[in-house]
C-alpha cells in the first residue's frame, strides 16, 4: 500500500435544485486501499459514487486521480470502473463475451481476449467451461464473480462497488465478502466499496468512511471507529451501544470508583460503552464504574446472551455476556460494571454536530 493518494476529493458539493446531497466533502484514498463508504439511505453515498465513476458531474469541487483532474471527464473516458448493484451483466452475451467486453471495445485481438477471460475465470475460481455459458444459467454468486471478472478485465485504476452483495442471501454474502477481500489482496488494486451494511464494511475494508446527510462523520479503520466513535451517530451506527450523558464529570445513576472519578473530573460529553464491555458483577465485586437495575428482557445470540436492563429514572442499559456467565432471567436485580479502558468520551461539540 503506497502513501501517495490515488484519489483526492476536494470540497466536493452536489446540489439537485434546492437539495444539497453533498456538502463540500474531502477525502484522500491511498493507492491499493480497500475503503468502504458506509451510510444509511439518503446519506449521499450513491450520489458520491456516481460522481466518482463519472455518471454525474459535481456542482463544485474537484476530483483528482493521481495528477489529473477528472471530475468533468465522462465515465467512458475514465480509467476506473464499477460493479453495479444489479451487476448489469449483458444478458444477450455469454459469460466469456461479458468478461471480454471492455477488451473488445479496445479492439484487443480475439485470441488475446479469450486468454485473458480464461485467466480471470480462474482468478475468480470459476471453471473454464463457464466461458460459453449463458448469463441466465449462472447462479447469483456466479453472476457476482462474472461481474467482477468483467470489471477486472477493464484493468481499472480504481474499482468501485455499489452494494453488489445486498441482494444475496446471508451465507453467500459472507462467502463473497471473504473472497472479495482475498481478491483485493491478490490484485493489489484500490477498492472503493459503497454499502449500507456496516458489518460488510468491517469484514472487508482497511478504512471505513461513515456518511451522514452529505458529510463524512468519521473516516478511520474499523477498530478505531468501533472503539472511539467521533459522534453519537457513529457510535449508534456501529451497532448496539450504551450512551450516557456526562455533565461536569458526573452521570446520574453511575457510581464512579477513584480511577473513573480522576479520569472524568470536570468533563462533559457523551460516554460510550459497548454492551460486551459491561460485566455483571458478583456481590462484593468492584468496578471502575458501577450501576444497577432490573433485567427487563433476555435475548440469546448463540454464544452470547444479551440483556436489556431497566434502570430507575434513566434509559435502559444493554449488556452482552458469554453464555456461561449468564444470570437469571427477567425480573432479576443485577449490579453491572465496566472499566475506564472500555469507555470513550465524545466531546460535546462533536455530539452537537451529529445531532
Amino acid at each position: 500500500m503506497g502513501d501517495q493518494p490515488i484519489l483526492r476529493i476536494n470540497a466536493l458539493t452536489k446540489r439537485f435544485n434546492e437539495f444539497t446531497a453533498l456538502h463540500g466533502i474531502d477525502l484522500n484514498v491511498r493507492d491499493g486501499e480497500f475503503l468502504a463508504i458506509v451510510g444509511p439511505s439518503g446519506s449521499g453515498k450513491t450520489t458520491l459514487i456516481r460522481l466518482l465513476v463519472g455518471m454525474d458531474e459535481p456542482t463544485e469541487g474537484a476530483i483528482w486521480l493521481r495528477d489529473s483532474r477528472i471530475d468533468a471527464v465522462p465515465a467512458n473516458k475514465r480509467p476506473t470502473c464499477m460493479v453495479f448493484q444489479s451487476l448489469a451483466l449483458f444478458p444477450h452475451r455469454s459469460v466469456g463475451q461479458n468478461i471480454e467486453f471492455p477488451l473488445k471495445l479496445r479492439k484487443v485481438a480475439p485470441a488475446t481476449r479469450k486468454a485473458r477471460a480464461l485467466e480471470l475465470l480462474e482468478l475468480l475460481r470459476l471453471p473454464a467451461s463457464y466461458y460459453d455459458k449463458r448469463i441466465d444459467e449462472c447462479s447469483g454468486g456466479e453472476k457476482q464473480r462474472v461481474a467482477l471478472a468483467r470489471a477486472l478485465a477493464f484493468d481499472p485504476e480504481i474499482l468501485f462497488f455499489d452494494e453488489p452483495l445486498s441482494a444475496l442471501d446471508y451465507r453467500l454474502r459472507k462467502t463473497l465478502e471473504k473472497e472479495l477481500k482475498d481478491l483485493h489482496r491478490r490484485t493489489g488494486k484500490t477498492f472503493i466499496y459503497i454499502t449500507h451494511s456496516l458489518e460488510e464494511a468491517m469484514v472487508m475494508s482497511d478504512r471505513i468512511a461513515i456518511m451522514k446527510a452529505g458529510r463524512f462523520e468519521q473516516i478511520a479503520p474499523a477498530a478505531e471507529i468501533y472503539a472511539r466513535p467521533r459522534s453519537r451517530f457513529v457510535a449508534e451506527f456501529m451497532g448496539e451501544v450504551n450512551l450516557f450523558d456526562m455533565v461536569d464529570g458526573r452521570v446520574p445513576g453511575l457510581r464512579f470508583g477513584p480511577r473513573a472519578s480522576n479520569l472524568f473530573v470536570g468533563q462533559t460529553g457523551t460516554l460510550v460503552v459497548r454492551p460486551e464491555s459491561v460485566a455483571l458483577l458478583a456481590p462484593g465485586e468492584e468496578a471502575d464504574v458501577a450501576l444497577e437495575g432490573i433485567i427487563e428482557s433476555e435475548y440469546l445470540l448463540g454464544s452470547r446472551v444479551q440483556y436489556t436492563v431497566a434502570r430507575e429514572g434513566a434509559a435502559p442499559v444493554t449488556v452482552e455476556v458469554l453464555r456461561e456467565n449468564a444470570v437469571g432471567g427477567p425480573g432479576a436485580p443485577v449490579v453491572m460494571g465496566f472499566g475506564t479502558s472500555a469507555c470513550h468520551l465524545i466531546a460535546p461539540e462533536a455530539r452537537d454536530a451529529a445531532a
Binding site: 467512458n76 470502473c81 448489469a88 449483458f90 444478458p91 473488445k104 477493464f154
Partner: protein
Amino acid sequence: MQRRDRQLGLLYALPIGVFLAVAFLAPILLVAAFSTMPPKVFSIWNMPDFSAYYTVITQGYWKTVAWSLGMSMAATLILFVVCWPLAYGMAKVFGRFSLVLTIGVVMTLFVSENIRLFGWVLTLMKGGLVEGYIRAWTGTGFDGLLYNVPVIVFGLCYVYLPFMLFPLAQGIAMVPEDARAAAFDLGATRWQIFREIELPLAMPGILVGSLLTFVLAAGALAETKLLGGQAVIVIAEEVETAFTYGQNWPLGAALAMVLIVIVGGIAIWGIGRADLDRMMGRR
C-alpha cells in the same frame, strides 16, 4: 388435475379456433385451390393444371413482386431509422409526454387510410398546396410531386409509422438502464452502446415492428394507386386486376399465393427469432 386443465384450455381455445379455421384458413385454402386451376374458370372442381403459375413466371410478373418487396423493404428501413429516436424518446426520455405522442399517433388511425392519402394527393399534386403556393410566390411552377417511386415509399412510411413506432418503443423499453450505464462505464462510446447493447437487446421489438411494417407494406395497394399513379404496378394491384377486370381468378389466386408464400416465409423466419414472451413481459 393437469389433464383437466388441458381440456379446459382446449375448450377455451375452441371459439377462436373455429373462427380462425373459417375466416382465415378456409379462404387461404380456397385461394390455393384456385391457383392450380386452368385459366378463367370460376370453380375449383376442374382438373388442376398449374398453368396460372406458368403465366406468373413467363409474363414478367416477377417485376411487380420485386417492386412490392423492394418498396416495402425501403419503407421498413426508413421507418426504422426515423422511428428509433422517437421510440427511444417515448421509452426513456419523454415521460408523460409520450402518452400525448401515443394518442396523437393513434388518432391518425381513426381516419380512413384512403382519406389521409387523398390529403397528401391534394398537398402534393400539380396545382395543389405545395406546387400552387410555390407558383404563386415565385411565378414558376413544376409538375407536382406525385406519380413517382419515392412518393409511394413516402406514403408507405406515412401510413405504417405506428406499426413500427410502438413495437420499437416496447423493444427499447426492455433494454435495462444499468446495462447501458455499465457499457458506458466500461469505456463504450455512444455508437458502441447502440451496436453492442441497445440494438441486440431491443431486437424483439425491432423484429416485430419491421415484420408488421414489411408485411403490411408488401400487400399495400392504395399508396401506389393514389400517390404513384401509373409509375409502377405492385403485386397487390395485379391481384386485384386479375380478379376484377381480368376475370381470371386462377391467375389472381396464383399471384396471391406467391405473395403469401414470400411474405409468410419472411414473417415466420422473423418471429422464430423474436422472443415474444419476453416482449409481453412474461419472462
